[in-house]
């Protein structure tokens, strides 16, 4: 079997401007939704209580709501979780509340109006924790960005590292944009998925850049755009196959992983799709516009740092 029967290099760079405009528009849309709608943060970040119940028969959500209302709870949300038997109750953080007893008191309230529930899970997060998690998440993101930029600059060229990180941050923002637009729950595991995507889709750029470097070194007389086209074309089969394989695994999580892994897998799916797109069609044009050229690679073996262009090339 051979899926990719490409005889000529595909002229990706000819349409570079179009792709970058598309990226810019999606990026701006994502930013717009992030600001206008905001992320639907999970209890881990906002603080509050989460209670998962399971009924033997299909649960009557109205009765559950009624029971909670009678017990004096306000601002709660009740919804099905995974199946019609499982119910998820979210309670906001309150100052004067005996947090230790909240699970019990909810169960007591329900036992009258909507009996037959068994407690599956209770999660309580205090206000201190949420703020810290958000801070740590931002710090982790920053560390990943710095780490990758430094590593790529060291292994390749600063132009590569800058365009790779821009392309991949663009992915991250778009994932967040999706979560904001659909108001999917943004939890800690989604954060983990986002950071994993960042590391993973940089892979993609690395593979393409590796080829770019190799082509620059091996072949003379090609324009930068042709080199990029060649590099992308010759790696496109591996790009699609690899991402396809990873996506198969993620799809399996999406289907079998249940509610807990659902958003995690969803974030990965979006990340993988945009990862292919951005590393091929965003990072490469950026590299071109940042002015990457053959000399930067052939001069690697030069004797003196900062030798001028007339300097001997060894």
């Amino acid at each position: 079997m051979e899926f990719f029967r490409i005889s000529k290099d595909i002229p990706f760079m000819r349409h570079a401007l179009v792709f970058n405009v598309i990226s810019l528009v999606t990026f701006l849309l994502a930013v717009f939704f992030l600001f206008s709608r905001g992320l639907h943060l999970s209890v881990e970040f906002t603080g509050g209580t989460l209670i998962e119940l399971s009924y033997a028969q299909a649960a009557d959500l109205e009765k559950v709501r009624g029971a909670l209302g009678k017990a004096g709870y306000t601002d709660f949300s009740v919804q099905n979780f995974g199946s019609s038997h499982d119910v998820l109750i979210r309670l906001p953080l309150k100052a004067e509340q005996n947090t230790a007893k909240i699970g019990e008191s909810v169960m007591n309230a329900l036992s009258v109006e909507a009996p037959g529930a068994s407690l599956r899970r209770v999660e309580f997060v205090g206000p201190q924790v949420g703020k810290e998690l958000a801070e740590n998440g931002a710090l982790a993101l920053l560390l990943v960005v710095i780490g990758i930029v430094v590593y790529l600059a060291f292994r390749f060229e600063w132009r590569f590292s800058v365009s790779a990180i821009i392309a991949n941050l663009h992915d991250v923002v778009i994932i967040l944009g999706f979560f904001a637009f659909f108001q999917w729950e943004f939890s800690l595991s989604v954060l983990a998925a986002v950071l994993a995507v960042l590391g993973y889709s940089v892979n993609e750029s690395v593979v393409v850049f590796d080829r770019v470097r190799e082509t620059f070194k091996k072949v003379r007389g090609l324009s930068t755009a042709q080199v990029l086209d060649h590099a992308i074309t010759s790696t496109i089969s591996r790009t699609i196959i690899t991402h396809g394989s990873t996506q198969m695994m993620v799809l399996s999580m999406l289907i079998f992983g249940g509610e807990t892994l659902y958003y995690f897998a969803l974030a990965l799916t979006i990340g993988i799709c945009f990862g292919i797109y951005s590393s091929v069609l965003v990072a490469s044009p950026l590299v071109m516009w940042l002015g990457v050229s053959r000399e930067q690679f052939v001069r690697v073996k030069k004797q003196i740092e900062g030798a001028n262009r007339d300097g001997a090339v060894v």
Binding site: V122, E123, S189, S234, R238
Partner: protein, 625 residues
């Protein structure tokens, strides 16, 4: 050129054997067990206890399938859960005849059913996190300000005693925020006092303030003393928590410090979460203080003007009571508290035992205050409650104290339990709580397992269809990766959570990238006219640089997650990082070893079974090698 030296094959073979060995325990499952461990520091669990357990079970005719002693205590493996429950009740009755004073913790547990020889190799099943096995997780925050304030209040008392002993007259000692101020009327006295305090309280920093006849000596704790105090507070709280948890009978509780001022408590397998929270949630501190009995003071306090140096509390009966701020004793001087009865009146009573320093202080205080009342104040979440305020009948020496009067047996029991469970050095608050029912845990394992299984199957099917023999080799390498990863997780006993299982699946999905890179590269070399052997060689060679770069960038993300993540993210990050490392080895070394075994020894290789190689008919060649 495609041959490995023998030692490389040996390394691969050893790695696979190691992988099998340490993965093996995960297949044996777990069997019900009962665990007997020490409930008190003074009680030792040794071979005598083991013999006693054997005798107890034999007498009742309960068969066991293995009994042994380890660092945690005596563990008995039983045939089924019925026998487990029966055995637990029996042992509980035998070992703790007095339920109020449990010497041993008897708990239900699950033990790995892997054979002894595996366990002795330290090959254990993966350590499952709470979201997979069910249980309770708490994160408690220790109120360090509270600890400091309390220390300073006690310090005020110490300074007062010290200056009185040395006959230095001062004009009052007060705590103002984080410092204690001593006032003086003349400079000479202040100099003398300063000398004395410096000699006796090395933890203090002194500063002279004020002028005229309002001279002050401001004392603050040195930073290192504060640090020591905080370390002590968290240790003390952890000890107290483990005492309290012992009452619950949990087989493998985890009590660990997290950061400077937090404590994580994990109680795997606990079903009765309400009781657990109740016992842990009693984040109370205990203080013994004197009652302020100045006539008319209570009325003034009720009107909103409590006298200086006293607090207004409400007694359990509902009567108002003025209690001096100065702390005579804190709960950490208390070594034991038991409910019982007064010898003469046969009223319910609580018997307290104090440590040596506590006993001395208590003796002094009671001698000076016969006929007066002292209050035992329980402080929960910043609010104080007077548990009891007995009258001191006589000087009490020897550290044995009895509190009696106006108490029911029930109240005596409650009070004793609260006192005995140990009081905390600093107040604590639950800031995060997670309770996972056992059925949810089993569900999560099933879901995680199925995700990985089907994902793996899909990838394997595709790889073999697309790359034929090279695909099969890639799949074997991927399976080895899974084997190594599970073996490493079992060996390190890293906690496996549901995000951890997701990370295993993702690691496999990402690890295949390396093999795809290699296979594509080999195809490309073939397309460009290399001989099969040369194609294999250059394919692996060229792909390696790319694989290394891309794995390192992924690893950077993994390490950042590990450094800043907590809870579920950490569980994900650990597996993610390990997965990247194992995939580097398996995708490059293991798959190469297999390919070398298959093709390396053939003299003439006409073609490679790597699937169809399509060559463009007319080469608009950009590559001109």
């Amino acid at each position: 050129m495609n041959r490995y030296p023998l030692w490389k094959y040996v390394i691969v073979a050893l790695a696979v054997v190691f992988g099998f060995l340490y993965t093996l325990p995960n297949f044996f499952g777990e069997s019900p067990a009962v665990q007997v461990s020490s409930g008190k520091a003074t009680v030792k669990v040794d071979s005598k206890v083991l013999e006693r357990v054997v005798a107890t079970l034999q007498a009742a005719g309960i068969e066991n399938s293995g009994i042994f002693l380890d660092a945690n205590g005596v563990k008995v493996r039983l045939r089924d859960t019925d026998a487990q429950l029966k055995a637990k009740d029996l042992i509980e009755k035998q070992f703790n005849p007095d339920a109020g004073d449990a010497q041993y913790v008897v708990a239900l547990n699950l033990l790995s059913s892997s054979p002894q020889w595996l366990s002795s190799l330290h090959a254990l099943p993966m350590y499952l996190g709470l979201d997979l096995r069910g249980g309770v997780h708490f994160l408690l925050q220790v109120d360090m300000r509270g600890a400091l304030t309390k220390r300073l209040d006690a310090l005020g008392g110490d300074l007062r005693t010290l200056l009185r002993d040395k006959n230095v007259r001062h004009a009052g000692i007060t705590r103002e925020g984080e410092r204690v101020t001593i006032r003086f009327r003349d400079a000479d006295t202040r100099t003398r006092a300063r000398q004395i305090v410096e000699d006796n309280q090395p933890d203090l920093q002194l500063a002279e303030q004020g002028e005229g006849d309002d001279l002050k000596l401001a004392t603050t704790l040195r930073p290192e003393a504060i640090k020591r105090l905080q370390e002590f507070a968290i240790k003390q709280n952890m000890t107290t928590l483990s005492n309290r948890i012992n009452e619950l009978g949990v087989a493998e509780p985890v009590i660990a410090q997290q950061g400077a001022d937090r404590i994580v408590v994990q109680l795997p397998g606990v079903q009765d979460t309400a009781k657990a929270k109740d016992i842990l949630g009693r984040t109370a501190t205990l203080e013994i203080r004197m009652v302020d009995e100045t006539p008319g003071a209570v009325e003034a306090a009720q009107a909103g003007q409590p006298p200086f140096g006293s607090d207004l509390y409400v007694e359990r009966g509902g009567l108002p009571l003025l209690v001096k701020k100065q702390v005579v004793l804190t709960g950490d001087r208390l070594t034991d508290a038991q409910p019982g009865f007064d010898n003469q009146t046969h009223e319910p009573a609580v018997h307290l035992t104090l440590d040596a320093a506590g006993a001395r202080i208590f003796k002094d205080v009671t001698r000076d205050n016969v006929g007066k009342r002292m209050a035992i104040v329980l402080i929960e979440k910043g609010k104080g409650e007077v548990v009891t305020a007995p009258v001191i009948r006589s000087e009490i020496g020897g550290g044995r104290v009895q509190i009696s009067g106006r108490m029911s047996t029930m109240e005596a029991n409650d009070t004793a339990l609260l006192l005995r469970a140990g009081s905390l050095a600093a107040p604590m608050e639950i800031i995060e709580e997670r309770t996972i029912g056992p059925s949810l845990g089993a569900d999560n394992i099933r879901k995680g397992f199925h995700s990985t299984l089907w994902g793996f199957a899909a990838i394997a099917a595709f790889m073999i269809a697309y790359y034929v023999l090279f695909g099969l080799v890639s799949v074997i390498a991927l399976a080895c990766n899974l084997l190594f990863l599970v073996a490493l997780l079992s060996l390190l006993q890293a906690t496996l959570t549901l995000p951890g299982i997701a990370a295993i699946a993702l690691a496999l999905g990402m690890a295949i990238d390396a093999n795809v890179l290699i296979n594509e590269r080999i195809r490309e070399e073939l397309r460009n006219g290399s001989t099969p052997q040369a194609a294999i060689h250059t394919g692996y060679e060229r792909a390696f640089g790319t694989i290394l770069d891309s794995n390192i960038t992924t690893l950077i993300a993994g390490v950042a997650l590990l450094a800043f993540g907590s809870g579920p993210v950490r569980g994900f990050a650990v597996v993610h990082c390990l997965g990247i490392l194992t995939s580097l080895f398996s995708a490059v070394v293991v798959s190469r070893a297999l390919i070398n075994l298959i093709y390396g020894r053939r003299r003439r290789t006409e073609s490679l079974a790597i699937g169809q190689i399509w060559k463009p008919g007319n080469q608009h060649g950009v590559i001109a090698d």
